[in-house]
């Protein structure tokens, strides 16, 4: 979680310096979800996510250097700089994309899950999505399709309460909880979890995955969370009160989780300091790696269009 936080802070800094361009959506505040959920996956499982994807990528173990280089648009990036921040991708790790058409990732996830079912493996596809995407047709279509076909798919809602500047209650008729809606599609395993509590996320994911791997079809988890910063770097955050942010910041997993660990005697301050120093060095190194990597050669414009 600390790696994600530091990486995101660095991305923000690099954006301000003009090294990272385009749209940049930081995952700051939501780290406990990616870490808690993805820690429970097997190497042959697939992950599909949305455009706020750095946290999922790093939690899956995508190379920090190549991730930063991708944001810099360099040839050493995960996708040689062709995808950028919103479209991180590492097929070898089953990380099949950040996707930036809201809700566009649901059908893809269904197909990846279908491949596991077709090949009779115990593999699963986890699809991460935000509350904003639940108003897209694909969300409803794929929940239904996955349930009818009993696909091994975990629908993981990161409910950070805001779709860009619109709070969910301005654009949603169904109330503040989303997970009860899963039952409409015959998805019986639907849970809600505190998205600021990494252990709770871990536990909820473990139980859901067991159900899916047992052949019970899709499961649904809603994690309540909050992004501490704006929707993207371009967002001046005029649509919400700072007191709301402060209330969530009090639950920041980057501070509360280490405090819990120390209180339980599971780790010492010195050990934490060591971890932090090593993470800080890793993030600094990623910037150096990205800076040293050249922009892709001109011919890359024309490659990778067809296999």
């Amino acid at each position: 979680m600390y790696l994600i936080r530091q990486f995101e802070e660095k991305c923000g800094e690099m954006y301000t310096r003009g090294q990272v361009r385009g749209f940049l959506h930081l995952y700051i505040g939501e780290e406990a979800i990616a870490v808690g959920a993805i820690s429970q996956l097997q190497p042959h499982d697939y992950i599909v996510t949305h455009y706020r994807d750095h946290g999922h990528a790093l939690a899956r173990g995508l190379d920090t250097n190549r991730t930063m280089a991708e944001l810099f648009g360099r040839v050493g990036g995960l996708s040689k700089g062709k995808g950028g921040s919103m479209h991180l991708f590492d097929a070898d790790k089953g990380f099949i994309g950040g996707h930036a058409i809201v809700g566009g990732q649901f059908p893809l996830a269904a197909g990846l899950a279908l491949s596991h079912q077709y090949r009779k493996t115990d593999g699963v596809c986890v699809v991460f999505f935000g509350d904003g995407s639940t108003n897209q047709g694909t969300y409803h279509e794929v929940m239904n399709l996955a349930s009818v076909w009993k696909l091994p798919i975990l629908f993981f809602l990161e409910n950070n309460l805001y779709g860009m500047g619109s709070r969910f209650d301005r654009v949603r008729a169904g109330g503040e909880d989303f997970y009860p809606g899963a039952a409409t599609y015959g998805i019986d395993h639907a849970a809600v979890v505190d998205g600021m509590d990494v252990i709770a996320v871990q536990e909820a994911t473990k139980v859901a995955l067991e159900s899916i791997r047992a052949g019970n079809g899709p499961a649904f988890i809603e994690a309540k969370t909050f992004r501490f910063q704006g929707h993207s770097m371009a967002d001046p955050v005029k649509y919400r009160d700072s007191s709301e942010t402060e209330a969530w910041e009090a639950k920041d997993p980057i501070t509360t989780f280490p405090e819990d660990l120390i209180a339980q005697g599971l780790v010492t301050e010195a050990e934490l300091a060591e971890i932090r120093a090593s993470v800080d060095a890793e993030v600094d190194e990623s910037v150096k790696f990205a800076e040293d990597s050249p922009f892709p050669p001109d011919e890359e414009l024309f490659t990778d269009i067809y296999a």
């Binding site: 990036g77 996708s79 062709k82 059908p107 893809l108 197909g111 990846l112 279509e141 990778d304």
Partner: protein, 325 residues
């Protein structure tokens, strides 16, 4: 050689692929128990079972995108849309997912998927069911688009499309399903991206595709009665376009006509006509003649519907107007 229908050619191609490769599976609306809206998948559910012949909900975006996901995972889905008109509901998955996921991942994955769909008008289904969006998809990098006009091409292109590692839009003009033609019993392929000279001639090159080829061949017969020898080129693939075959013919005949059954404005016919002009203006006796569908929605009532679809006489009139033949 055996004479079979266009539909039977597709059926043969699908069965062969299902027999040859366990990674090939089919999905679409009512392709199983119902036997397919146009009966192309008739009998397949019985033979191959519900895992490989999958009836889907009426959720085009969901099952087309699921095809992309399955293909990314290494399977070879053949997805059927009940109509090319319905592809609009799935167009985000076609244009933004199928066509781009390879590029955006820097070449990490492939999308070996075929998207089959009946297309075209002329059977009084009114404006929203009579469209041919393969034209639009032909302008999208990352997709391949094929439009067979004969049973031979249908089988040969289907074999190539299923074996291709890229997403292929396979447009089947619904008026062609019952048409007949000779197909060899031995193995053959029609490569994607290769046009075909359907009739040789020395006086004018007529370029078209899909159902338009029937109109052009009919026009060629009529022109022959007045001594005009027309060459008919069937593009067969709309992306990538085989302009070399077209150019070779135009530079031989010195005259060109392009038939596009879709809306004339900003359609693929305009692109082909422009490219012929750009490549071969020194060889041309006049401007590239163009015949296209009217720039109107397609009405239900038959007299008006037919008024909007290019007819043989339009081709003949256009050639006379442009070249005085």
């Amino acid at each position: 050689m055996t004479e079979i229908t266009f539909r039977q050619a597709l059926q043969r191609g699908l069965r062969e692929a299902l027999d040859a490769d366990p990674d090939v599976f089919l999905m679409g609306e009512d392709i199983g128990k119902y036997d397919g809206a146009y009966a192309v998948t008739q009998g397949l559910l019985e033979k191959y079972g519900p895992d490989r012949i999958r009836d889907t909900p009426i959720s085009e975006a969901a099952f087309v995108g699921a095809g992309v996901g399955a293909a990314v995972a290494g399977l070879r889905p053949v997805v059927e849309l009940m109509s090319m008109s319905f592809s609009l509901v799935a167009s985000d998955q076609i244009v933004n997912m199928a066509a781009k996921i390879r590029y955006m991942s820097g070449g990490q994955v492939k999308v070996p998927m075929v998207l089959r769909a009946p297309t075209g008008g002329g059977v009084q289904l009114a404006a929203t069911h009579s469209q041919s969006f393969e034209n639009w998809y032909a302008s999208t990098p990352g997709l391949k688009v094929v439009t067979p006009s004969t049973p031979y091409d249908a089988l040969g292109l289907l074999r190539s499309s299923i074996e291709d590692d890229n997403p292929v839009i396979f447009a089947e003009n619904a008026l062609l399903y019952g048409t007949r033609g000779e197909v060899p019993d031995e193995e053959f392929r029609v490569p994607i991206g290769l046009a075909d000279v359907k009739r040789e001639g020395s006086d004018i090159t007529m370029v078209g595709w899909g159902h338009g080829i029937i109109t052009l061949l009919d026009a060629a017969d009529k022109l022959a009665e007045t001594g005009v020898k027309a060459e008919v080129i069937d593009l067969r693939t709309l992306r990538p376009l085989d302009m070399d075959t077209v150019t070779e013919s135009v530079e031989k005949t010195g005259r060109a006509l392009v038939l596009d059954e879709n809306w004339r404005t900003a359609g693929l016919g305009a692109e082909i006509a422009a490219e012929i002009g750009y490549r071969s203006s020194d060889y041309l006796d006049g401007p590239v003649a163009r015949v296209g569908g009217t720039d109107t929605p397609s009405p239900y009532t038959r007299p008006l519907e037919q008024l909007g679809i290019p007819q043989t006489q339009w081709v003949i009139d256009e050639i006379e107007k442009t070249y005085g033949l």
